[in-house]
């Protein structure tokens, strides 16, 4: 469709005209006119809603909201075209078969071996070994080898040694969807562990001997403690209501030596609505401070984030400080339980705060334990009530921790944002389906690529310059402040206003420091070379004075040296090296150089992302855009003819 206008959210006058293309996988908007012919690419799988608005004189507006929080406003001249696009997109954004998803057609031009290597990057067996299991308390159980006991669990599950197959199967029958207690994290230092399960089918009075034995076995696997915590992450009221349906929670009287605790994280429906409300606030055209803060509070989003964090902090404290094992569950044990277990693991173990460790963590607590990615993130057309930003909340918890502990994480904010992006993009196979079983049936590993390998390949873009493996923050358990700390939880504009570049800091400290570190590394190398050459030169010179007979020979050698030198390392060349650090030279270019760098980085690591982020029109006029980009001045379009009117409107 030609002559489509892409509107800027903040100003109707900065619309660009271009051509809209629909392909099997993407919506592509190509600008007319400008030399660069900027392109905006949006994957169909990123589209969360499409809205056709009332036709106006200029055309038919179409509003596309994306799951990565991009909002695109198009105006299509012909109503008929708009309708066609709308109908097509509705169909394309809601695939019904996995085979329609992008990862089955996405081909990064890697051979078979590289693809296999990619999938091997994260190995959970290796991870459990790293934790220190199997050992004298924990063993691997093959009771679920054909998904015979629980179809949403992985085939290999770690359980206490004293838990026999009989106990496991018995316990599984007493748990929702047969998700019996299994090991999530084991603390080598003190034998305390985090286990996870679903709720017990206790109703008002039902008991299950095997389930009681199972919990007993978990306690015995930690000889240092005479009780375990059972953490129900639901609000008490919700858990009690479940009893009427034959489900519920553990009765302290029936289980020996447990301490039962409710945490009060709301369910997926509350979270979905909360995000919806917050995004409405983000989308406001030029909100006042009150509108924004009031809307943010009203959405309850940060309150929910804090609830998840508090649960994670509670568990980490129990494990690290009290040395007590914890069993965590919610209803089905695949949403809140995954959030809470992974936050606790992240606090407890510095390994999960490295890039590789974080991939392992998501693979362990989310992918392998059957977090329903397909349902929660709407990859295939399904029940909209199943959709909820569960892992988004976990990712935000990590960001909140990064803000409080700037040196504790090996990766940076961009890493989190790109992971979030790809959970929805379906470009890689990692997050397809609802369980390991389904993924095996679909032969995901043979037919798609792994995100982790892709991120790992571009890890230079995702490094936190402040991270050092020998820094105190990258050791041991993190202890976030508990109270009073409400103010520590902040709105994450980098995520929820990700495509509103004008709102973000104009210079990126991270990119700047990474460039400096890169330069430092080059300097270190050059220093070494220089020292070596200096030493050689001094040696040969002193040799020259002493042994004149060998002079000819030596000078030949030296001649070789100088020619090498002029090629390898001369000051001129070095200064051109310096120029290759765009982020370091706001003085040389304009103030948006940091932004340019970000986009370059995106490009190198992620062609798809960069295309999406190309919402800015031409970097050269960003400086004049910025006040308006920020919705700052009502008069941002103060054309020379009408400035007074516009100014006064403010």
């Amino acid at each position: 469709v030609e002559n489509v206008r892409l509107l800027d959210r903040f100003s109707s006058r900065r619309a660009v005209v271009g051509t809209l293309y629909l392909t099997a996988t993407h919506v592509i908007f190509v600008e007319n006119g400008s030399e660069t012919r900027k392109e905006t690419w949006v994957l169909h799988s990123q589209i969360s809603s499409i809205e056709k608005q009332a036709t106006t004189a200029t055309g038919c507006p179409l509003l596309i909201r994306c799951k990565n929080f991009q909002v695109i406003q198009l105006v299509i001249p012909q109503e008929r075209d708009c309708h066609d696009v709308y109908i097509s997109l509705i169909r394309l954004a809601r695939p019904v078969k996995y085979e329609e998803l992008y990862c089955f057609s996405f081909n990064p031009k890697l051979d078979k071996e590289e693809r296999e290597q990619g999938w091997k990057l994260v190995d959970l067996n290796e991870e459990y070994n790293r934790m220190g299991v199997p050992n004298s308390y924990w063993q691997i159980s093959d009771v679920n080898r054909d998904y015979g006991v629980c179809d949403s669990y992985p085939t290999e599950v770690y359980v206490p040694k004293s838990a026999t197959a009989h106990i496991i199967v018995g316990s599984s029958k007493f748990r929702s969807r047969r998700r019996f207690p299994a090991l999530s994290y084991y603390c080598k230092g003190n034998n305390a562990s985090i286990c996870r399960s679903s709720q017990p089918l206790s109703g008002f009075s039902a008991r299950c001997l095997e389930d009681e034995q199972m919990l007993q076995a978990i306690r015995k696997a930690n000889p240092g403690s005479d009780f375990i915590y059972v953490v129900d992450t639901r609000p008490k009221l919700n858990a009690m209501a479940n009893r009427a349906a034959g489900k519920g929670y553990e009765n302290e009287d029936n289980y020996s030596n447990i301490k039962f605790q409710f945490i009060g994280i709301e369910n997926i429906h509350v979270m979905r609505n909360s995000l919806q409300k917050m995004l409405e606030v983000c989308e406001l055209k030029s909100p006042s401070m009150s509108d924004f803060l009031w809307g943010l509070e009203n959405s309850g989003w940060l309150k929910h984030i804090k609830a998840i964090m508090d649960a994670g902090i509670f568990i980490a404290k129990a494990v690290a400080e009290e040395g007590v094992s914890v069993l965590v569950h919610c209803s089905d044990g695949w949403d809140r339980t995954a959030q809470v277990c992974s936050v606790a693991s992240l606090l407890l173990d510095p390994y999960y705060r490295t890039m590789k460790g974080f991939m392992v963590l998501i693979e362990k607590d989310w992918v392998s334990f059957g977090h329903k990615f397909n349902h929660r993130y709407g990859n295939l057309d399904g029940d909209p009530k199943e959709i909820s930003p569960v892992i988004d909340q976990f990712i935000e918890c990590v960001w909140q921790l990064m803000e409080q502990f700037p040196c504790a994480f090996e990766f940076n904010e961009r890493f989190l944002i790109h992971i979030q992006h790809h959970i929805y993009s379906c470009q890689f196979g990692n997050f397809l389906c609802n369980s390991q079983k389904e993924r095996r049936e679909l032969k995901i590993k043979e037919r798609t690529y792994s995100l982790w390998a892709h991120l790992w390949k571009n890890r230079a873009d995702y490094l936190n310059p402040l991270y050092r493996s020998d820094h105190s923050q990258s050791q041991g358990t993190l202890h976030p402040q508990i109270a009073p700390c409400n103010f520590l939880y902040k709105f994450w504009s980098g995520m929820y206003n990700r495509f509103e570049k004008g709102l973000h800091p104009r210079q990126s400290v991270t990119d700047y420091l990474m460039a400096v570190k890169e330069e430092t590394q080059q300097l270190e190398e050059e220093l070494e070379v220089l020292q070596e050459r200096l030493a050689n030169l001094q040696k040969s010179q002193s040799g020259n004075n002493k042994v004149k007979s060998k002079q000819e020979d030596r000078s030949k050698q030296f001649g070789l040296y100088t020619s090498n030198n002029s090629l390898a390392n001369t000051p001129q060349e070095y200064s051109s090296d310096l120029k290759s650090f765009p982020s370091r030279s706001p003085s040389q270019g304009d103030e948006d150089s940091a932004l340019i760098l970000t986009q370059d980085n995106l490009k190198s690591s992620d062609p798809d992302l960069s295309a999406n982020s190309d919402q800015e029109s031409g970097v050269e006029d960003l400086s004049c855009k910025s006040p308006s980009g920020g919705g700052c001045l009502p008069s941002e379009d103060s054309g020379k003819d009408s400035d007074e009117a516009v100014f006064l409107a403010g």
């Binding site: 402040q481 200096l534 003085s587 103030e591 006040p627 920020g630 103060s638 403010g650």
Partner: protein
């Protein structure tokens, strides 16, 4: 008056000091004329706390049996608690602190007694003279002149002795204009934009009154700053209704008929007690110990503090935009021209002028646009957020300005030579200081108090290399461009460095800052070493070449 008369109990032992995020410490409390000194001589943890009495905003006492507790709330927003054994000692100490922290005579303040322990390399009192500023200006334009019309502070009591005005306006005209402007604050040059020759002027409101009085000289003065055929903008920091009401009291605004080349924009900036209340509410919210997330956000919202930040930044951006983008001159004023006017003109300069983002340049800006321009520091910063006095002239105008600078700094972290600590330091010294810089309400009062002779200037201390190094931003790279901040709510944050400074764990953030400094420092070291080696290598090669030639 002898301070000793006010100190009935100069010393108390076995006092316990409580602070958030610190373990309680036992030690000795001493009172002197200007300080409260707490020292702990415990072997493992010897430490001393020196607190200026003038830093104390309010003091509460309570008793449990014979154990007295004093809660001291400081102007830098810190709260400390002292447990003092003995009811009498506690009462004495509390009443002494109360008296010493509320001395009403300026000349009894600490700056008049302070003797520096450092060598003065440069007298800060003469570091930033308007004459130097004018010299710089003269190198790019000759349209302005330095006027000494206010030499005796007779034309405008709140202006400095010298001001910069358009060359074509003589001193007689200035005297007439002064009569037409509130408090005699006639329009003077605040900033000259070299890039396009546009000027920013500031003044107070014109005294048009209800019958629309006019002053030909005033019109001539402001028009003298316009390029032919171009127009200018008057940015009035009051809403139109307030400006109209001001006419009843003799004030007013520039009317279109008399200033046809000027367009007036009303950009409301909150002032006085509204700001003070907002400040108090915000600090209350930050000190709230409850665990409820919702209450925090609604209290933050209810304080309106960030709204004021947004309004002020927007007005400053607007002024900067008029100058840089519209190529127009700007006149900024409110009523008196000593508060919101200065906020707008100084922030606009931060945006427009790279020099103001250096340490020296920022200091010069504060001297020029705040101290010399007659912002009444003594009145505005007499009390902070904990005081019960609620005087109508108290207002955190300067703090609001500093926070706006911080907001811009946060968005352009590599474009400022100074760091956040520098801004926090200025906030502290504006409210309580050993230096005389922020005493008095204007240059006239400072001259009468003989501050330059009798007290030490803050700049004498700050600009010493060893102090300066604490305030330098390791990420700084000179950026010669205009920097346009975003003022969307998503882009503005609470200034934690001031408001949560004492009630958040700061260790991890400090470690991050150290890490940043370390990365840059190591890089610079390596650069220096590589350069040295390169030179030596070149030398050796040259020598070697000579040897070869000889042979």
């Amino acid at each position: 008056m002898e301070f000793a008369e006010l100190i009935k109990t100069p010393r108390a032992d076995n006092v316990v000091l409580h602070r958030p995020f610190h373990l309680a410490v036992e030690g000795t409390l001493c009172l002197t004329g200007h300080h409260l000194i707490f020292s702990s001589r415990r072997q493992d943890n010897a430490e001393e706390l020196w607190l200026l009495h003038s830093n104390i905003d309010s003091i509460d006492k309570r008793f449990v049996g014979s154990l007295g507790t004093i809660v001291i709330k400081c102007k830098d927003l810190r709260i400390i608690q002292l447990d003092i054994p003995g009811m009498e000692e506690c009462l004495n100490i509390a009443s002494s602190i109360e008296a010493l922290s509320t001395l009403d005579s300026v000349t009894l303040m600490y700056p008049f007694f302070y003797r520096p322990m450092f060598e003065v390399l440069e007298d800060g009192w003469s570091s930033f003279l308007l004459e130097q500023e004018f010299e710089l200006l003269s190198s790019v334009t000759n349209e302005w002149r330095l006027s000494c019309v206010n030499k005796e502070f007779s034309v405008c009591p709140s202006y400095p002795p010298v001001v910069i005005v358009p060359k074509s306006i003589d001193d007689d005209a200035l005297r007439k204009v002064a009569l037409f402007r509130h408090g005699g604050r006639f329009p003077v040059l605040s900033y000259y934009h070299k890039k396009n020759g546009m000027a920013m002027l500031r003044s107070s409101q014109p005294l048009t009154g209800t019958n629309g009085r006019r002053c030909k000289e005033d019109e001539k003065l402001v028009n003298a700053t316009l390029r032919s055929g171009r127009r200018g903008f008057v940015i009035d920091t009051r809403p139109l209704t307030v400006a109209q009401q001001a006419r009843a009291k003799g004030g007013g605004f520039e009317q279109e008929v008399h200033y046809p080349q000027w367009r007036r924009i009303h950009k409301y900036i909150e002032r006085f007690n509204i700001l003070q209340e907002s400040f108090i509410k915000l600090v209350e919210a930050c000190n709230d110990q409850s665990h409820n997330m919702d209450r925090w956000l609604s209290k933050l919202e209810a304080s309106n503090w960030l709204t004021h930040i947004k309004e002020l930044l927007t007005a400053a951006c607007l002024a900067a935009q008029c100058i840089d983008r519209e190529g127009a001159s700007v006149l900024v004023h409110g009523s008196e021209g000593t508060d919101s006017t200065l906020q707008v003109t100084s922030l606009a300069q931060i945006i427009l002028d790279p020099r103001c983002r250096t340490i020296r340049g920022f200091e010069a800006l504060i001297v020029r646009e705040w101290l010399q321009a007659g912002h009444p520091f003594q009145q505005r910063c007499a009390q902070s957020a904990y005081s019960n006095s609620k005087q109508k002239w108290e207002a955190p105008v300067f703090l609001l300005f500093l926070e706006c600078v911080w907001q811009i700094h946060r968005q352009f972290p590599c474009s400022f030579e100074f760091n956040e600590q520098f801004l926090i330091m200025l906030f502290e010294h504006a409210y309580a200081s050993q230096f005389g810089t922020f005493l008095g309400n204007n240059e006239n009062e400072r001259a009468k108090l003989k501050l330059p002779q009798k007290t030490m200037s803050l700049w004498s201390w700050v600009n010493r290399p060893e102090e300066l190094s604490r305030f330098q931003n390791p990420l700084y790279e000179a950026n010669s461009l205009v920097i346009w901040p975003s003022v969307a709510p998503q882009s503005l944050q609470l200034w934690e460095g001031v408001f949560l400074r004492w009630n958040r764990p700061s260790r991890f953030l400090e470690e991050a800052e150290e890490e940043r400094i370390h990365i840059i420092k190591y890089n610079k070291e390596l650069q220096a070493r590589v350069n040295t080696l390169r030179r030596r290598l070149a030398q050796l090669q040259a020598q070697d070449g000579e040897v070869q030639e000889e042979q």
